[in-house]
Symmetry: C2
Subunit: 259 residues, 2 copies
DNA sequence: CGCGATTTGTGCGCACCTTCACAAGCGCCT
DNA sequence: AGGCGCTTGTGAAGGTGCGCACAAATCGCG
């Protein structure tokens, strides 16, 4: 999705024995690790202290072979014949994802969507803390949201530095997003989650992930359209479908990351 | 827009059935079409009536070769030496995505996030109309949000059918999501956009896309972590050499992922 | 103390996606 | 009319990811 510069690909020679670390984890694997982490926390709360790849894969909604391969990439600690130690695996994944400490996040744009994101409990529960809110609208500055005061975007540099913020969320209108991105990067932010429906260009070394809500619906719309065309044409589109079970069963393939 | 059904002369070669086209568009292509569409609308508003693959690719933030291949999949109409007709391409893509008519969408869960989604202007502008709001909390039922009244989730079947809704958005807590999904499917919904951080299992034929905001941040966190590790290491020697075992000993723990 | 049941880790083939490079087509200019 | 430059469409190569299937490893039990 966003720009991932293969770039010079500095080798990053694995500093041998000390840390198992993350030299060049496949992007697809990285995208799934959070999923595993969530499932693991769930399992831990249920009292499980070990889990098989089959069980964990089930909880995370993926194939067990894929899960094993993913975990093997980070030199995982499973025990053959037994499974994975839940607590250990949680620590492992959290380390690889850089979640050993709570990360501070800045949020720019406290409009309709930004307001909701600022109060989204899911962030706090999963390793992040919204540490600063910004908006360009003077009328909004000073407003209090979930224990934070909205600050003017001109104060961005000082706050970003003072709080040591490296990750920012853009929830502004598309027209302002590129400008905001530039100011964020100038202030030292190196990772951006962009909710504005537009492409951002940023210097090399800055990561951008994009969430476009309308695009998600449009992709679903395509599949709706396709399904409608299929059922209208008994050409054999349904032939491929195995006996449709009455109950709930196979998880759908959704997902695809990105973006 | 533009009830443009004639389609492009029934495919290129095999015109067995009068099927429009999009038989089996690659998923990756489908995911990018909305991006192109957005860029095209932008271009149209800027007065452009044709655009080259290079120009459009630039606007959409992708490689031009990739764009051309994507468009070729849907039997597109570009003119060599000139480029693509912006208006025609918009119609084409909107048709393929099933956006020739505005689609009705139901939204379940009018909490923090759901409230924002209900008012999100980006949906209305891009082919969708939130047609119904539901919540399980009786205290919220009756509340008015953006011209719609929140209804109780028990009324879901009647409303879904009456409005002919096929797409739904789940913005409930994770604990309720699976149950809601089941009720949606039972009511006839065949596409779900899930914002709850959990896996949904649905019957075959139902599409689910998931947006997990915390996961997006966690992926960024990984890259932050990686970048931090890189800058912490002396850049000099690491460049280029990938853990070549040329070193005399290189104890096993290196685990040489790549090999 | 060895055997079988269980589960991980992974080699391999396959399918999909991306990118390059170039021939074919189109319009314009001379 | 003909050639020239520009742009599309696509064949082919390369890369990435996925899933099967199986050997290796570990535990529990008799």
């Amino acid at each position: 999705m966003s720009q991932h510069h293969p770039g010079p690909e500095s080798g990053t020679s694995a500093h041998a024995a000390a840390v198992p670390d993350f030299p060049d984890l496949p992007e697809a694997t990285v995208a799934r690790l959070p999923e595993y982490l969530r499932a693991l926390h769930h399992l831990a709360e249920s009292g499980h202290d070990t889990v098989s790849s089959e069980g964990l894969a089930n909880s995370a909604g993926v194939n067990s072979a894929k899960l094993r391969k993913d975990l093997s990439h980070l030199g995982s600690y499973g025990t053959r014949g037994v499974g994975y130690d839940v607590g250990l695996l949680i620590d492992q994944i959290e380390f690889v994802l850089g979640l050993t400490h709570r990360r501070a996040v800045a949020l720019v744009g406290v409009g309709n969507l930004g307001h909701a994101l600022a109060g989204y409990a899911g962030f706090a529960n999963r390793g992040f803390r919204i540490s600063a809110l910004f908006d360009a609208d003077a009328a909004r500055v000073g407003e209090r949201i979930g224990g934070l005061i909205v600050q003017h975007i001109d104060d961005l540099p000082e706050v970003i530095e003072a709080e040591g913020i490296a990750i920012a969320v853009i929830a502004t209108p598309a027209s302002a997003a590129q400008s905001v991105a530039g100011r964020l990067v100038a202030a030292g932010v190196t990772s951006i989650l962009n909710f504005a429906p537009c492409v951002l260009s940023v210097p090399e070394g800055v990561d951008v992930r994009k969430v476009d809500l309308a695009i998600e619906l449009q992709i679903l719309s395509f599949h709706e359209h396709r399904k409608a065309a299929l059922t209208a044409l008994p050409t054999g589109g349904a032939a491929g479908l195995t006996a449709l079970p009455g109950g709930l069963s196979t998880p759908s393939p959704g997902e695809a990351v990105g973006t």
